[in-house]
C-alpha cells in the first residue's frame, strides 16, 4: 500500500534514450540521506552544503564502486517542486549510468515512483492546483489502475505461475508453524531444519526469478548480444571493432576463442553486453576444452536477446552450412554479418542472394572487421534491433517490471531474516512475522490475501477441529 508521507520515491527524470545529460530525481523524507549515501559521504556533510546549489561529486553504487562523476543538488521542502525534500543527481547521459544510479538509490531505501507520482505529491502538498491535479488523477488511474487490474491477466502468465508457486511454498511453511500454534494439542511443531531447507530453496528461486527478469538483467548487465558463426569467420575481430580496442585473443589458428568473452558497451545510451562465442564446427578433431567452449557458446546464444551471425565471405559454403541452422534457431532476433568483404568483394552479390530467403534485406550487413568498412551501418541496425521488441518485452513469458522486481527483492530480504531467525533457534512464531512480511511483499504482485491463504492451507492439510 502506498504511503505518501513516509516513503522516498525515485525515478529517472529525463526521457529514455540518448541525451548528453541524465537526471535522477528523489522526493521524500529520506532524500538527503539517500543522496549522501550515493555520494558515499556522511549525512552531516550533505547537510552542510548550501540548498539549491550544484555540487560536483563522484557517485558510487552500493558496493562502493564508482559509477560516474555527477552534479548533485538538494532542495529542501516545502519550497520544492513536490513540496517535500527533493534531491537530484545530474549525470552523463546514457542508460547505463542512469540505471546504475537508480539501482543505487533503490538499494539505499528509495522506492520506485509510480507513473505521475511526483506530480501527485506536488498536488497533495498544494504545489499545483486542482485542474492540474484532475489530469494527474486521470493519469494515475489510467496507468497504475490499469496495471493493477491487468495484474489478474498477467498472473495467468508465467510470472504469475512462478509467484503462485513461491507463495504456496511459503504459505505451506507458514501454515505448518501456525497450525501447531493454533492447534497445539493436535499438530506438532515442524522441524527447523526442514523449514530452513525449504526456505533456502525458495530464496534461491526468488533470486533466480530476479536474475532471469529482463528488467533486472538489463539494468545490471545490459542487453545480451552474442557473436556466433563458424570457426575463423572473424567474430573476435568484429568484437574488437565494436569495442574499439584489442580485448579478445585474435589468431589465425581456428578454435582459439574457447572461453567466452563478455564485454559491456554503451552504444549511444543502450547498455549492451557483447558475448563472443567459440566457433562452431563438426569433426573428429574437436578437443575436450573446445567442446566445453562450444557448450558454453550454445548457452550464451540462448541467453542473448540479439545474435550477430558472422559468415566468412572467403569460405561461403562452409559458412552457409553453419549459419542456416543457427538462423533458424534465432529467427527474428539475429543479424547476418558477412565479414571479410575487403578480401572477397567479388563474392558479395552471390552471398547476399543465397541468404535472401532466410534474412530480410536490412538484416544482411556486409562488413570488414579488419578495415572497419560497413561498421556504421551494422551498429545503426543493431541499435534499431535492440531498441525494438525483444528488449522491453518478455523473455520466457516473464514480464517483470520495476515494482515487481522490488517486491521480489523485499521478499528475498524477509526470507533471509526468517532463515537467520531459524539459525538462532528463535521461537517459530517469530519466524512467522518474517514469513508474513515476505508473503505480503509477494502479495503486492499477486494480490492474494495472506492471512486467508494460510488458513486455507491449514484446513486443507491438517486435520484439526473439535
Amino acid at each position: 500500500m502506498t504511503d505518501y508521507e513516509q516513503e522516498t520515491i525515485v525515478a529517472i527524470a529525463t526521457p529514455p534514450g540518448q541525451g548528453g545529460i541524465g537526471v535522477i530525481r528523489l522526493s521524500g523524507p529520506s532524500a538527503a540521506d539517500i543522496l549522501a549515501a550515493c555520494q558515499n559521504i556522511p549525512l552531516a556533510e550533505q547537510q552542510q552544503r548550501q540548498a539549491r546549489r550544484l555540487y560536483l561529486h563522484d557517485i558510487f553504487d552500493e558496493q562502493g564502486r564508482l559509477i560516474d562523476r555527477a552534479l548533485t543538488v538538494f532542495m529542501p521542502g516545502p519550497a520544492s517542486y513536490t513540496g517535500e525534500d527533493v534531491a537530484e543527481i545530474q549525470c552523463h547521459g546514457g542508460t547505463q549510468a542512469l540505471s546504475q544510479i537508480l539501482a543505487a538509490a533503490l538499494a539505499h531505501g528509495a522506492r520506485l515512483a509510480q507513473a505521475g507520482e511526483f506530480s501527485l505529491r506536488a498536488f497533495l502538498n498544494g504545489k499545483i492546483d486542482l485542474s492540474q491535479a484532475e489530469a494527474i488523477g486521470d493519469l494515475v488511474a489510467a496507468k497504475t489502475a490499469a496495471g493493477a487490474r491487468n495484474a489478474a491477466g498477467q498472473l495467468a502468465g508465467r510470472l504469475g505461475r512462478h509467484i503462485a508457486k513461491l507463495e504456496s511454498r511459503l504459505t505451506a511453511v507458514q501454515a505448518a508453524i501456525t497450525a501447531a500454534v493454533d492447534f497445539p494439542d493436535e499438530v506438532d511443531e515442524p522441524q527447523n531444519r526442514q523449514m530452513a531447507e525449504e526456505l533456502t530453496a525458495v530464496a534461491g528461486d526468488v533470486q533466480a526469478l530476479l536474475d532471469k527478469a529482463p528488467a533486472g538483467q538489463i539494468l545490471r548487465q545490459g542487453l545480451g548480444v552474442a557473436l556466433a558463426g563458424p570457426v575463423n569467420a572473424g567474430k573476435s575481430s568484429l568484437l574488437n571493432q565494436i569495442l574499439g580496442f584489442d580485448r579478445a585473443i585474435v589468431t589465425d589458428c581456428p578454435g582459439t576463442t574457447r572461453d567466452m568473452l563478455e564485454e559491456y558497451i554503451d552504444l549511444d545510451g543502450l547498455p549492451l553486453l557483447l558475448r563472443d562465442t567459440a566457433g562452431l564446427r563438426r569433426g573428429a578433431d574437436i578437443s575436450e576444452p573446445e567442446r566445453i567452449g562450444m557448450d558454453k557458446s550454445r548457452d550464451a546464444l540462448e541467453r542473448s536477446q540479439i545474435v550477430l551471425l558472422v559468415a566468412d565471405l572467403t569460405d561461403p559454403a562452409f559458412s552457409r552450412e553453419h549459419i542456416l541452422p543457427l538462423a533458424a534457431a534465432c529467427a527474428g532476433h539475429s543479424l547476418l554479418v558477412l565479414n571479410k568483404r575487403d578480401a572477397a568483394a567479388e563474392r558479395l552479390p552471390a552471398a547476399i542472394a543465397c541468404y535472401a530467403g532466410d534474412f530480410a534485406g536490412e538484416d544482411i550487413l556486409p562488413i570488414s572487421a579488419k578495415t572497419g568498412q560497413g561498421m556504421p551501418e551494422l551498429l545503426a541496425r543493431l541499435k534499431e534491433k535492440a531498441g525494438g521488441a525483444r528488449l522491453w518485452q518478455e523473455e520466457d513469458g516473464l514480464l517483470v517490471n520495476a515494482r515487481q522486481r522490488q517486491a521480489l527483492q523485499l521478499a528475498a530480504g524477509h526470507i533471509r531474516e526468517a532463515l537467520a531467525g531459524l539459525e538462532q533457534a528463535l521461537p517459530q512464531d517469530l519466524i512467522t512475522i518474517d514469513l508474513e512480511a515476505a508473503l505480503t511483499a509477494l502479495a503486492a504482485i499477486s494480490g492474494r490475501d495472506v492471512g486467508e491463504e494460510v488458513l486455507n492451507d491449514i484446513f486443507r492439510n491438517f486435520c484439526v477441529g473439535k
Partner: protein, 635 residues
C-alpha cells in the same frame, strides 16, 4: 414515554423504558449488559430463561490459542469472563509454552453449571441492571424505520430504549439436525426464537444461514479411563489480572485422550448416506475448523486414527464431552462408533451429538462500534454476526455494550484497531471482509500478534477503558503498579553496568559496554538469573518481570512489528466522510466503486482491506481526500 406509546400495537403495553436493552443472556449478552450498566446506563437484559444465562452449549472450555488473548482483553476492560472462569475452572493449562510469548495461551476447563450460577449472581449484583424473562419477538422502530426505539416480547411487554443490543446467539430460527431427524430448536434443547428471526427477515435485513455442531456427551460411569491417556492440568494460572494466587480453591480434574480406529471409521463410512451434511439435509455453511468426525474420515481417508479428548462438563456431573467427535449421524450410529473406541466400549450416551442451523446477519452492515449502519441504536453482537466461540461472542458483547451506553451517555465511541487488540482484529475482519463461514479467531488473523499478547492486554487496553468508567479502583491500582514496576526495572537494567570482576565471578564474558539489559539479551540468560545475581532493591512481581523479559528478549522483532504498526496507523488515521458518494471520484474501478459505496469504510486503511479495492483505487481516494479537505469525516 409518549414517544413509545404511539409505537405500540393492540395487545402490547409499555413495560418500561431503558437506555439500553440487551436481547439474549449468552456470553455476548451478559458482557454487554454488564458493561452498559457499569458505565451508568439504565439497562435491561431480556433472556428466555434467567437460569440459562452464560450457557456453554458446546465445549466445556474457555480460552485456547488467540481466544485466551480475547479473554484477557475483556478482563482488561473490566469484563466478567476471566474472573468467572477463574472461579469456575476445574482444570487449567498453558498452551504453547515452548513457543514465543505472543502465542502462549491459557485454556481452562470449566464447571458449566457453576459458571452459569456465578454469572447469574454477577448480573444480579450489578447496579443499573434489570433482568427480565421473555422472548423478544420484534423491535420497535421509528417512523422512518432508521432508528431502533426498543423491543417487544411474546407476551406483549414493550420496552422503550435508546439502544438495543441483539445477542441472540444460535437461537434465531434455530433447527437441530440429528441424522434423518430434525426439528426447530435452540441449543441444548432450549426453544428457538423463530418470531424475531422472521421479523428481521421481514425488515429486509440480509440474513444468512450458518451451521455448527457439537459432539455427544457420554456417561462418566460407563468410561474405562484405564484404557486412555491422562491429560493433567496445572496450578497457579489465572485468566484475570485481578485474581490473586490461591484466591479461589479449585479442583484440578484431568481430561483423557484416546483414539478412533479402523473399526470406528468403517461404521462411519457405512452410514455416510444417513449424514445430513452428505445427504443435503443441511443447507447452512459450517466452519472448516470444526469438521465433524464423518468429515474428517472422508477428507483425511489415509489417517487410520483420529484423537479425541474426554472432558468433564463439571466437577460433579457425570456428563463428559467427547472433543473431536462432532457429528450429525443418527443417534444409534453415534453410539455404535463410540463403542469401538478404547475406553468407550461400554459407553452410554447422555446427549447425542447434533448439528444446528441458525440465522445470522451480515456483519458488513456494521460500524466498528458494532452499531448497524442503517438502523441507528441497533447493535448486533456475538454469534448473530456470524462468529463462533464464547470468547468471540463475549468480546463483541462488551464492545457493543460500551458503545451503546456511550451513545446514550454522550461519550465518544470506543473502537479498537487491528494494532491495539484482538477485539479490533475480530471486528475489523467482520465489518471489512464479512463472513463466509462461522468466524473464529486464530493467531494468524492478527498481523501484529507479537504486540497483542495475553500478558500485556491490561497495558494496552485498561487506560482506554478508564474514561468510560469501566475500570474500578482495584484494577487501576494493580495496573499502575505493574506498569511502574516494569518501567523502573527497565531503566535499572539499562543503567546498571556490572563490574568486570562481578561478571568474571559468574563465568560470563564481559565487554566494557555490558549492561544488565545486554546480558539479558543473551539467549542463555533469563530474568530469573538477573534477579538472582543482580537483584533490584525490591523484588519484581512476576507479571512485571515477564514484561521486562519479553521487552528485552524480543526487542528486535517487537521493533519490526512496531514499524509495521506505524505504517498501518498512518492510513488508519485518514478518515473518509460518512456517507461518501463514490460516484464522484473519477477513475475508480467498477468493483471498487460498488464495494466502497456499499461498505462506506471509515478510513483509508479499512478501504484498502476490502477485497476488490486495489492500491490504485486507494491512491485515488487519497487524492480526493486531499482535494476536499473541507469534507471532514464524522459519525
Amino acid at each position: 414515554m409518549e414517544a413509545y406509546q404511539s409505537l405500540l400495537q393492540p395487545g402490547e403495553y409499555l413495560a418500561g423504558t431503558y437506555q439500553t436493552v440487551v436481547i439474549g443472556g449468552g456470553h455476548a449478552g451478559c458482557e454487554a449488559a454488564l458493561a452498559a450498566a457499569r458505565m451508568g446506563a439504565k439497562t435491561l437484559l431480556i433472556t428466555m430463561s434467567p437460569e440459562s444465562v452464560a450457557m456453554a452449549p458446546c465445549n466445556p472450555a474457555v480460552g485456547g490459542a488467540a481466544k485466551s488473548v480475547l479473554v484477557r482483553e475483556i478482563d482488561a476492560l473490566g469484563g466478567a469472563m476471566a474472573r468467572i472462569t477463574d472461579q469456575a475452572q476445574i482444570q487449567i493449562r498453558m498452551l504453547n509454552t515452548g513457543k514465543g510469548p505472543a502465542v502462549q495461551a491459557l485454556r481452562a476447563q470449566i464447571d458449566k453449571a457453576l459458571y452459569q450460577r456465578l454469572m447469574r449472581r454477577r448480573l444480579e449484583e450489578q447496579e443499573n441492571l434489570d433482568i427480565r424473562q421473555g422472548e423478544a419477538v420484534k423491535l420497535l422502530l421509528n417512523e422512518g424505520k432508521n432508528r431502533v426505539m426498543g423491543c417487544v416480547t411474546a407476551n406483549g411487554a414493550a420496552f422503550g430504549a435508546e439502544t438495543v443490543i441483539l445477542a441472540s446467539g444460535t437461537y434465531l430460527s434455530g433447527r437441530v439436525i440429528i441424522g434423518d431427524y430434525d426439528y426447530p430448536s435452540g441449543p441444548a434443547g432450549y426453544p428457538p426464537a423463530a418470531a424475531l428471526g422472521r421479523f428481521l427477515r421481514d425488515m429486509g435485513l440480509p440474513v444468512r444461514r450458518f451451521k455448527t455442531g457439537t459432539p455427544a456427551r457420554v456417561d462418566k460411569n460407563t468410561i474405562d479411563f484405564s484404557k486412555t491417556e491422562i491429560q493433567p492440568g496445572l496450578r497457579g494460572l489465572y485468566f484475570s489480572y485481578l485474581t490473586r494466587d490461591g484466591e479461589f480453591q479449585r479442583p484440578s480434574i484431568p481430561c483423557w485422550l484416546t483414539y478412533t480406529n479402523a473399526q470406528t471409521h468403517k461404521i462411519i463410512r457405512d452410514n455416510l448416506h444417513r449424514a445430513p451434511l452428505f445427504s443435503g439435509r443441511i443447507e447452512g455453511v459450517g466452519p472448516r475448523y470444526c469438521p465433524s468426525i464423518e468429515d474428517k474420515v472422508v477428507r483425511f481417508a489415509d489417517r487410520d486414527a483420529h484423537q479425541l479428548f474426554l472432558e468433564p462438563e463439571g466437577e460433579n456431573e457425570r456428563e463428559y464431552y467427547v472433543q473431536g467427535m462432532s457429528s450429525s449421524l443418527p443417534e444409534e450410529v453415534q453410539a455404535a462408533f463410540l463403542r469401538t473406541i478404547p475406553g468407550l466400549e461400554k459407553v452410554t450416551l447422555m446427549r447425542p451429538a447434533y448439528a444446528i442451523e441458525y440465522d445470522c446477519l451480515d456483519p458488513l452492515c456494521l460500524k466498528a462500534t458494532l452499531e448497524h449502519k442503517d438502523l441507528a441504536g441497533f447493535y448486533p453482537a456475538g454469534q448473530i454476526n456470524g462468529t463462533s466461540g464464547y470468547e468471540e461472542a463475549a468480546a463483541q458483547g462488551l464492545l457493543a455494550g460500551i458503545n451503546a451506553a456511550a451513545a446514550c451517555l454522550g461519550l465518544p465511541p470506543l473502537v479498537f484497531d487491528r494494532s491495539q487488540a484482538y477485539i479490533g482484529v475480530l471486528v475489523d475482519d467482520l465489518i471489512t471482509k464479512g463472513v463466509n463461514e462461522p468466524y473464529r479467531l486464530f493467531t494468524s488473523r492478527s498481523e501484529y500478534r507479537l504486540l497483542l499478547r495475553q500478558d500485556n492486554a491490561d497495558l494496552r487496553l485498561t487506560p482506554m477503558g478508564l474514561p468510560y468508567g469501566l475500570i474500578d479502583e482495584e484494577r487501576q491500582r494493580r495496573f499502575a503498579a505493574k506498569k511502574e514496576a516494569a518501567e523502573a526495572e527497565m531503566r535499572r537494567l539499562k543503567a546498571y553496568h556490572p563490574k568486570e570482576k562481578e561478571l568474571q565471578a559468574l563465568g560470563l564474558k564481559a565487554s566494557h559496554e555490558t549492561s544488565l539489559e545486554t546480558l539479558l539479551r543473551r539467549p542463555e540468560i533469563d530474568y530469573a538469573y538477573i534477579a538472582a545475581h543482580f537483584s533490584p532493591a525490591e523484588p519484581l512481581a512476576a507479571d512485571a518481570a515477564e514484561q521486562v523479559e519479553i521487552a528485552v528478549k524480543y526487542e528486535g522483532y517487537i521493533a519490526k512489528q512496531q514499524a509495521q504498526v506505524d505504517k498501518f496507523k498512518r492510513l488508519e488515521q485518514k478518515a473518509l466522510p460518512q456517507p461518501m458518494d463514490y460516484q464522484q471520484i473519477q477513475g475508480l474501478s467498477t468493483e471498487a466503486r460498488q464495494k466502497l459505496t456499499q461498505m462506506q469504510p471509515a478510513n483509508i486503511g479499512q478501504a484498502g482491506r476490502i477485497s476488490g479495492v486495489s492500491p490504485a483505487d486507494v491512491n485515488l481516494l487519497l487524492l480526493w481526500l486531499k482535494a476536499h479537505p473541507q469534507s471532514k469525516a464524522g459519525e
